[in-house]
Amino acid sequence: MKSAPFDYVLARTVTEATATLAQDRRNAMVIAGGQSLVPMLNLRMALPDLLVDIGRLDELKATSATQEALQLGALVTHADIEDGAVPDPFGGLLRKIAGGISYRTVRHYGTIGGSVALADPAADWPVVLLALGAAARIASPAGSRSQSVDDFIKGQYATSLAPEEIIVGFDIPIPGARMRWGTSKVVRKSGAFASSIAVVVEQGDGDFAAAALGAAGPRPCLLPTTAQGLRSRAPQEDLRAMVADDLTALALDGDPYLTRLHTSTIMRAVREMRQR
């Protein structure tokens, strides 16, 4: 289980990284924490000719917070967030999610940018970022663009990222001080990817609410009917019916178990939120 051969360059600037990606005619890939890519290399599931290591770009580690939004650099690691080394203006939501991803050794290196760029349908960050309405900032030799994570993720391991683009960071709007949230995740064993993961958030006064679900289909998704129910303070039982509507729209291959499973994670997340 050894990787096929490839070449390697360590990028010194974002400009250099995107330029290399754009100019190199070979099949190039970016490597950040390597916690997803290296296993894929070892299994020969990824066969790049060139790896562009962006892991040491301080530009991608920059983090700042305003009243309106949190800016997280793409290279912020799960452990950085878990340890509170970056701000979490969402009342501990980010820290809780970070601490539940995989294992500590993986969290030491795994980055939020890598997680979203990979777009694993069962990954944690895409679900949270969807629920929070975050946008990705993306750089290329042509300049930079911003795109909501919802639009950025196209499907299973598929994003709108062009070969010469890299994610620079994320802008996450801050709903307000009275925000509440709930999460629930089912795994086959501790640290494994989710079989189902739900994140719900709402603003205390009812003008904002969102629900997002992962591991239910090719890409994580928002649950609009459920969100509406949350906004209108629907009681648990009514909410269950709204969840059912959303899940029907997802067409889970007509698999009743998946419907029960996802319903239960969503309802648990809601219960957790409402108990806050």
Binding site: M1, K2, V186, R188, K189, S190, G191, R260
Partner: protein, 786 residues
């Protein structure tokens, strides 16, 4: 840990392990750590199809000489594997494919390059043309007349089918209570953390083939390699270094072992193959995969009468040398009455060939399946009768007064108190408290359940027993060579193979006990056919019984000679001599053991006239009762289950067990806890599903779930000690027991959680999906109420 002085304190002492230090400092030497200069790595080209004709193998021109197919490693003889029974069909298993591949992962070609990465590069360039054949995947369907065949020349897909008819099974048809269930343990791997591995080269100085092999028994592997490669045995040396777990998975001779050894005879440099995890999940010996279609019969008063039905063992595509997987069926049938007074049996057992990886032994062999089937059925009978399952067990279990007891299928249960083990487990798990908790309900909506399972674990069975099982190599004894060096310290060579069981410690304790010295003065060595005595290795919970007995016997012979020399030097009678704390005591004087050892080895002039010098003794040992001895115990477990997600959490786990005398209780507890962790894996997590084309669906740890610390509770272990009557020191083997009962106990607990709706849980692992679906099915059957 200190024990009171004198030799006699060592048996029963929780002596800290001698083998720890090297691992704590990273000085262990596992197969991949063995460094031989010039070694090149092997990567195998493996079949991507479950069943196919190999039409062509194209070697890349640039490296054609580095790619080996079957023709390039000849001559290699294929040994017939499986029991020595003419009814058992031969499934010749070549080291590299011979024109046909019969499972995904079968070796087709070996690529040899300076590094493993380069060898894999080369393997990727080898083009294999396969012509797909219909795959045999489902074990029951495989037995239908119209099923495709794994072996064209066989009349059906059965390696062997056998029947067990005991008592008067005619009675069963009219039994008042008949409960029929189909039960299944799915396929899994053994998952030693270190994979398999082999490194081989021709040693020109010693003029022999050296084969480093990660194996549970080197002597038997040498026997196989020598016959397969056509080399005399003294020209083959097998060395087993530190072994990073085996659990049965390293106790068969495998195609990779043979191919690498054969290649070493063709090239001028050492070659090695280190199994990676994907290969392990694809092609190491697989395990379990039992299917039971059984009816258990009882009287209305709860008296269990017997069982009838069919057992299917999915043994995969080939029988592995020496014994294949036949034991699974025979042991499952014979253990199906458990500890109960059940006298009537009619079982048909089929060991079936399918297009899956060959099955090998795995901790517990067959008994996790039999115990799962039986103990689940007992619970279902109790439910049918509205009884507490625990009470039904107690009512039917053989009592202490009835022991020794010959079961319907002929096992002679020896010593112990089964009722006491049941009661102790019930008390420690606090059954009434759980029943109260169930009534109260859980705030989080989960359901609580409690389950019990009783198991027995045969060990120390010897020559006659293995003759009955028609083994090709009869592991009927073990041997030990105990040698006292001139300074009074001791070297012991044994034929068993420590791979975590702590033999360096426990066997030293036994020798220390017999020789009146400190275990620190004793080194236990094993794992090199060039120096150790013949022996069969470590499996079947046999080491402490057999090797412990052999070490005891050899040490006693040595002690006797020491006493004679002591008597001579102290000028007294042998009968008046005692050995204690490294001294020989006579009535009026004493002498150090070291002086005697020096005399025996280096001063023959001081020995009694006519006495041969040296203090060295070789002994073999077999217990007096060839049917073996039976450790036993009860597992009791409490679970909490979420009906919607189907996730099961273990809240409490209690074991009450009896393995006779414990040489080292600390190590016993470690074996129990470790076995249970594996049993929890079987019960809840581990599975290699195959799709309809015979493609395995779990080939990495992303899909194959191994329980980690959060999944495995600390087990509360209770001991009952009934020394065995037919073994040295009263020991019984216990290495496998922990892994036997968990699937049964946990499934019973989950079923208990949903007993109000009658949900049935008859297939492992009890994955969230299986659990939730079983609950849903039961709810629907009850008219959709939630």
């Amino acid at each position: 840990m200190s024990v009171e002085g004198g030799g006699k304190g060592w048996i029963g002492a929780s002596l800290l392990r001698k083998e720890d230090a090297r691992h704590l400092y990273g000085h262990g030497m596992f197969i991949a750590d063995v460094h031989v200069s010039g070694v090149q790595d092997v990567a195998f080209v493996r079949s991507q199809m479950a069943h196919a004709r190999v039409v062509q193998v194209d070697k890349p021109a640039r490296h054609a000489a580095n790619v080996f197919v079957l023709n390039d490693i000849q001559p290699v003889k294929i040994l017939e594997a499986g029991p020595e029974l003419s009814a058992h069909r031969h499934s010749p298993y070549p080291a590299l494919a011979d024109g046909r591949v019969r499972y995904v992962g079968q070796t087709i070609a070996a690529c040899v390059m300076p590094t493993r990465a380069q060898a894999e590069d080369l393997a990727d360039q080898v083009h294999v043309a396969l012509e797909e054949l219909p795959a045999v995947v489902d074990v029951v369907a495989a037995m239908r007349p119209d099923s495709p065949r794994v072996f064209d020349e066989w009349p059906n897909n059965s390696y062997i089918s056998t029947s067990v008819v005991e008592g008067n099974p005619e009675l069963l048809g009219s039994a008042a209570v008949r409960v029929h269930r189909r039960l299944r343990l799915n396929r899994q791997a053994t998952v030693s953390l270190e994979g398999r591995g082999v490194l081989a080269y021709w040693d020109h100085r010693l003029d022999e083939l050296v084969v480093y092999l990660s194996t549970q028994g080197g002597q038997v592997k040498r026997l196989a390699l020598s016959r397969m490669l056509g080399l005399p045995e003294h020209k083959v040396r097998v060395i087993a270094p530190d072994i990073g777990g085996g659990f049965g998975g390293k106790n068969r001779i495998m195609p990779e072992d043979i191919a690498v050894a054969a290649i070493a005879l063709k090239v001028r440099h050492p070659v090695r193959w280190i199994e990676d995890r994907r290969e392990h999940l694809l092609a190491s010996p697989h395990a379990r995969d039992h299917t039971y279609d059984l009816t258990i019969c009882a009287e209305r008063d709860g008296t269990l009468l017997g069982i009838e039905g069919d057992i299917y063992i999915d043994a995969g595509a080939y029988a592995l040398w020496p014994t294949g997987a036949f034991q699974e069926a025979s042991m499952a049938s014979r253990n199906l009455t458990g500890p109960y007074r059940m006298r009537h049996l009619r079982l048909d057992a089929h060991t079936v060939a399918t297009n899956k990886a060959p099955m090998g032994p795995y901790r517990g062999v067959a008994r996790p399946g039999a115990t799962f089937a039986l103990e689940r059925l007992v619970d279902e009978v109790a439910r049918e009768l509205g009884r507490e399952p625990f009470d039904l067990r107690r009512q039917n279990a053989v009592t202490a007064a009835e022991l020794p007891y010959r079961t319907a299928a002929g096992l002679k249960l020896d010593t112990g108190d089964y009722i006491a083990a049941l009661d102790l487990a019930r008390e420690k798990i606090d059954l009434p408290a759980i029943r109260r908790r169930q009534v109260a309900g859980e705030p989080d909506g989960r359901k609580i359940g409690v389950g019990f399972a009783f198991y027995t674990e045969q060990s120390g069975h010897g020559t006659v027993e293995f003759m009955k099982r028609k083994f090709r190599v009869i592991p009927g004894y073990e041997s030990a060579n105990v040698r006292m060096l001139p300074d009074g310290n001791v070297l012991i060579y044994v034929g068993v193979q420590n791979h975590g069981q702590g033999h360096e410690t426990t066997l030293a304790q036994i020798a220390a006990h017999e020789l009146g010295i400190d275990p620190g003065q004793i080194s236990v060595r094993y794992g090199d056919t060039a120096i150790g005595p013949y022996g069969f290795g470590t499996f079947a919970s046999r080491s402490i019984v057999f090797a412990g007995g052999a070490v005891g016997k050899a040490s006693r012979a040595l002690a006797e000679k020491i006493r004679r020399i002591g008597a001579h030097l102290l000028q007294t009678d042998v009968a008046a001599i005692r050995i204690e704390n490294g001294m020989i005591h006579g009535p009026s004087g004493k002498i150090g053991l070291a002086e005697i050892a020096f005399a025996a080895n280096a001063r023959p002039d001081q020995l009694p006239t006519g006495m041969d010098p040296l203090l060295e003794s070789v002994a073999t040992y077999e217990p007096t009762e060839s049917g073996g001895v039976f450790a036993y115990g009860t597992h009791a477990v409490v679970v909490a289950v979420d009906p919607d997600s189907g996730v099961t959490e273990i809240l409490d786990y209690v074991v009450s067990e009896d393995c006779g005398t414990m040489i080292n209780p600390m190590i016993v507890d470690g074996q129990v806890q470790g076995g249970i962790a594996q049993g929890i894996g079987t019960a809840l997590y581990e599975e290699i599903p195959y799709d309809e084309q015979g493609q395995p669906l779990a080939t990495t740890f992303a899909d194959y779930m191994v329980p980690c610390a959060p999944e495995v509770p600390t087990v509360r272990i209770q001991h009952i000690v009934t020394p065995a009557l037919t073994t040295e020191y009263g020991v019984k083997g216990l290495g496998e027991g922990g892994a036997i009962a968990p699937p049964a106990a946990i499934a019973n607990a989950v079923a208990d959680a949903f007993r109000d709706i009658g949900a049935s849980f008859n297939e492992t692992p009890l994955s969230p999906r299986r659990v939730s679906e079983a609950v849903d099915l039961a709810r629907r059957a009850r008219g959709g109420q939630r």
